[in-house]
Amino acid sequence: MSEFPDDLKYAATHEWVRVEEDGSVTIGISDHAQELLGDIVFIELPEEGAVVSAKDEMSVVESVKAASDIYAPISGEVIAVNEDLADAPETMNSSPYTDGWLCRILPSNPSELEELLDADTYAGMCE
């Protein structure tokens, strides 16, 4: 069964968001998403410094089975990227909520967080 940690917010397009103490947000894909994709073999990482808008494509994840877009769950500037994923994309499968994080964004409009789903709502959607 997929895990849906309570302390995260989720987008309907299967990204998760964690609000950090400094106001930035960390982003990744959900356990459910990585299970659907299967073995991940390449990740087109977003670029540090890029400015993204909520719901825009920001990255592409390729598994053996399929290519899947990752959408920015929130608008802002990309301030850090998980470069380890370039050599070890499978980390996104093995620990989607910790070591497999994708990037950190400094939100330009934190009120967009209100539009994201809580764990229960997102889990219900994935059933």
Partner: protein, 369 residues
């Protein structure tokens, strides 16, 4: 809910993710496609392929009929148990299905694809006029493909326990594309992975116990996902993707399966193929593509080909994947025969690819240069 093989409960027990495959509930993968793929390349894996259709052909005209029905020539099968791969073509030379035919002590055994079962049987029945043949489906048999460098040794040990040491030795001594009947089992040195291995047809009632023995011996269960990456690395076609009724075997890397000789053997599709053969250099070809940069080649992607006169013409990827063995993308593509250079359109970006003969990995090793 779809049809289930005799091993359905065993798949669930092994943690399989089940999908619909041609009306059957089949395991797409257990834990990880890449781990399953690697197990077959380095150790041994077992595939439940019981969804495939076994048809036994008997009757006074069995051989004469198959020589008419199939593009390859079953008269080439001199020994009991010998097998060949062939297309079954329509009058236009299009591929209705690809299949393996075994010569049995009396008659022949065909193994055809699951998704094409109904049209195959309807076609075979429609071509029987003037021949004394009987077709018998064998749904009471399961099929286990055991593949990988350790597969034959492990199967021989199990055969030794179930039958006798003589039977074990006869399985161990099988040449490629030969099979042997042991009571109501049939064990053949065939497969769809590019590794050594066997395919075992055995009663449904015995299949779960043999599955358990295989797993106890360290053989890993392999889903349809890894079956696809393994066959594609081996450069083997998948019906409905790399060829279908609109495609000539000459454009599907299947020219080697057409038995032109003897010239007086009339088989369905022969006339159309002979006409195509007259202008063969204008027919598209199925070739291998290799892309070593990041990214994955996928079925349906456009291939922009530069011809020798400098003009461009499009081809298409018919099967593509990330190769778990080679760690980069590979594909089969149908392209103009004259293509000199190719690039694949990946999300609007043209990425150059290398053309190679279809066939990327054999016995665990890269085979192209």
């Amino acid at each position: 809910m779809g049809q289930q093989t005799a091993l359905y409960a065993k798949h669930l027990e092994a943690g399989a993710k089940i999908v619909d495959f041609g009306g059957w509930d089949m395991p797409i993968q257990y834990k990880s496609l890449i781990e399953e793929h690697t197990a077959v390349r380095e150790q041994a894996g077992v595939f439940d392929v019981s969804h495939m259709t076994i048809v036994d052909i008997d009757g006074a005209d069995a051989e004469r009929w198959l020589r008419y029905l199939l593009a390859n020539d079953v008269a080439r099968l001199k020994d009991t148990g010998h097998a060949l791969y062939t297309g079954m073509l329509n009058e236009n030379g299009g591929v209705i299905d690809d299949l393996i035919v075994y010569r049995m002590a009396s008659g022949f055994r065909l193994v055809v694809n699951c998704a094409t079962r109904e049209k195959d049987l309807a076609w075979m029945q429609s071509q029987q006029a003037g021949f004394t043949v009987t077709l018998t489906e064998r749904p009471e048999l399961a099929i286990l493909a055991v593949q990988g460098p350790k597969a034959i040794d492990i199967v021989c040990r199990i055969i030794g326990q179930r039958f006798s040491s003589d039977d074990s030795a006869s399985v161990g001594g099988l040449k490629n594309f030969y099979g042997v009947k042991l009571d109501d089992w049939f064990v053949a040195r065939t497969g769809y992975t590019g590794e050594n291995g066997v395919e075992i047809m055995l009663p449904n009632t015995e299949a779960p116990a043999i599955w358990d023995l295989l797993l106890d011996a360290g053989v890993k269960p392999i889903g349809l996902g890894a079956r696809d990456t393994l066959r594609l690395e081996a450069g083997m076609n998948l019906y409905g993707h790399d060829m279908d009724e609109s495609i000539s075997p000459l454009s599907a890397n299947m020219a080697w399966t057409i038995a032109w000789e003897p010239a007086d053997r009339d088989f369905i599709g022969r006339r159309a193929l002979e006409a195509q053969r007259q202008h063969r250099d204008t027919l598209p070809v199925l070739t291998g593509l290799v892309m070593e940069e990041r990214g994955v080649l996928r079925e349906g992607l456009r291939v922009e080909c530069t011809l020798s006169d400098g003009t461009t013409q499009d081809g298409v990827i018919t099967s593509g994947t990330f190769s778990p063995t080679l760690k980069h993308a590979i594909a089969l593509a149908r392209i103009p025969a004259d293509a000199q250079q190719c690039a694949v359109d990946i999300r609007g970006k043209l990425v150059p690819v290398r053309l190679v003969k279809p066939g990327f990995v054999r016995h665990g090793k890269k085979v192209f240069s």
